[in-house]
């Protein structure tokens, strides 16, 4: 069973709705034993970094997630804030992140040539693929995805970056390290493109 982790940070049913569309059963839960038994995990999230980490802490989910992801090597997909939480830290907050990848979240900063760009980065944008990744199976070439964020990751290790997106400059929009996947955009709100990406994640053999 796919478990969508409910830690009080928004947009959970939209992910479940999209999974329903591709006939995949999922369960929204914050229950530690349910998470322990998950085949795959989705860590969604809308909101601020410290609220997200604070909630994970309050709900005692950090140690079970660490075990599932780092020891059991369960596949996990972080979405939006969920992707940022798996990094080491964020400029947005003071709490440490989950630290599963060598990365940190920083706020968009533009030089004078791009000073007219608005923050947050909101809207449909494309991706530039940087490495082979199972998430890209049967993905259309002009695939576009819906982004809403003011912070983005910077990765220490280039090999963790699966795709980049251009907004003033290029930032990592899809990351992957072993069993850990993260997308900065919202696949659950990205029509058929997001549907394909979620389908690909679901179909990866563990």
């Amino acid at each position: 069973m796919i478990v969508i982790i409910d830690y009080g940070m928004g947009n959970l049913s939209s992910i479940q709705n999209m999974l329903k569309k591709i006939s995949v059963k999922s369960i929204i839960s914050s229950n530690i034993s349910v998470i322990k038994n998950a085949d795959k995990l989705i860590l969604p999230g809308v909101g601020s970094f410290d609220n997200g980490m604070g909630n994970l802490q309050k709900m005692s989910l950090i140690s079970v997630l660490n075990k599932k992801v780092l020891i059991d090597k369960t596949l996990i997909l972080g979405i939006c804030l969920g992707m940022q939480l798996i990094s080491k830290r964020s400029e947005e907050g003071r709490l440490p992140g989950l630290g599963w990848i060598e990365a940190e979240a920083v706020k968009f900063k533009f030089d004078n040539n791009h000073a007219n760009l608005k923050i947050p980065h909101i809207g449909w944008n494309t991706i530039k693929i940087k490495k082979d990744c199972l998430l890209f199976k049967d993905m259309e070439e002009n695939a576009r995805f819906y982004f809403v964020h003011s912070y983005h990751l910077i990765c220490t290790r280039g090999e963790d970056i699966a795709a980049m997106t251009d907004y003033g400059y290029e930032f990592p929009s899809i990351i992957q390290k072993e069993n850990i996947f993260g997308v900065q955009f919202h696949p659950e709100k990205s029509h058929k493109f997001g549907k394909q990406l979620l389908k690909n994640f679901v179909e990866i053999l563990c």
Binding site: G10, N11, L12, S13, S14, N17, M18, K20, K21, V46, G47, S48, N51, L81, K118, I119, P120, H121, I122, G123, W124, N125, T126, R144, Y146, V148, H149, S150, D166, Y167, H186, E188, K189, S190, H191, K192, G194, K195
Partner: protein, 253 residues
């Protein structure tokens, strides 16, 4: 490459979708769920769904309808209408809505924006500003679905709510609403020039070319009602949305 967003704005009133003229005389468009299913199939960028009577009638947001809408909506959805508590917002977000529009209540209680943007993140908070010109041509903000004038002006209010943490401004021209004669580009220019957050312009689009004009004037996104629910200026109902090629042409990308 980020393409400017084009957003159908759907007005919900007494269980149906309607289209207004100058915020009045809602003309019946259709069933909300069917309409949203069509927009989903047309792969629209985003949708704004507003309950236009909730605030005026002092009603709660229609949670059951919102829940049906989100189950058909695989694109970003914004809800607005009658939202005045954190509890209601939690419920709406949990149903699968991305962004919530705060209108009247933001004018009455601007510090609410500060509170909710901290809690939910700025990216999920849109403040709507409904603007009407008075007899002297001065733009004033109206609340309660355009029925109650205030002394606030769009520029100073937009600056204030940006400081409070609003993620986007949804700027509506009441005078242009439903007229299909083009946006109030002067208003868009003035407001977008003073804020650094994205501005969604609404009110007046009569052709898809008008969408480009709104973006040229400084809007980050162009919202419209009539052109996406009517076939033409005769106002016969037809749910429609331009193709990606047409949009690329309009924005000259």
């Amino acid at each position: 490459m980020l393409v400017p967003r084009v957003i159908p704005c759907l007005l919900f009133k007494d269980s149906a979708l309607v289209k207004t003229i100058k915020f009045k005389n809602g003309n019946y468009i259709g069933d909300p769920i069917n309409t949203i299913r069509i927009f989903n199939n047309l792969e629209v960028d985003e949708l704004i769904f507003l309950d236009i009577t909730a605030t005026k009638k002092n009603k709660k947001p229609p949670f059951d309808v919102i829940s049906q809408v989100t189950s058909e909506c695989f694109m970003p959805l914004t809800y607005g209408g009658g939202v005045r508590s954190i509890e209601d917002m939690k419920k709406i977000f949990s149903l699968g809505v991305e962004k919530i529009v705060i209108g009247s209540y933001a004018v009455e209680n601007p510090s609410f924006i500060k509170e909710i943007s901290k809690l939910f993140g700025s990216q999920s908070i849109i403040v709507s500003i409904d603007v009407k010109k008075d007899y002297s041509g001065k733009s004033k903000i109206y609340i309660n679905n355009g029925t109650k004038p205030t002394e606030r002006t769009p520029v100073e209010f937009a600056i204030q709510v940006e400081q409070m943490g609003a993620g986007e401004i949804f700027l509506n021209s009441i005078d242009k609403d439903g007229m299909m004669e083009g946006y109030d580009t002067g208003l868009i220019k003035t407001v977008s020039g003073t804020i650094s957050i994205p501005l969604i312009a609404c009110g007046g689009a009569g052709t898809i070319e008008n969408l480009g004009t709104a973006v040229k004037a400084g809007a980050s996104a162009a919202a419209a009602g009539s052109i996406f629910v009517y076939q033409n200026k005769n106002r016969s109902v037809l749910i429609n949305f331009p193709s990606r090629d047409e949009l690329a042409n309009i924005f000259m990308i």
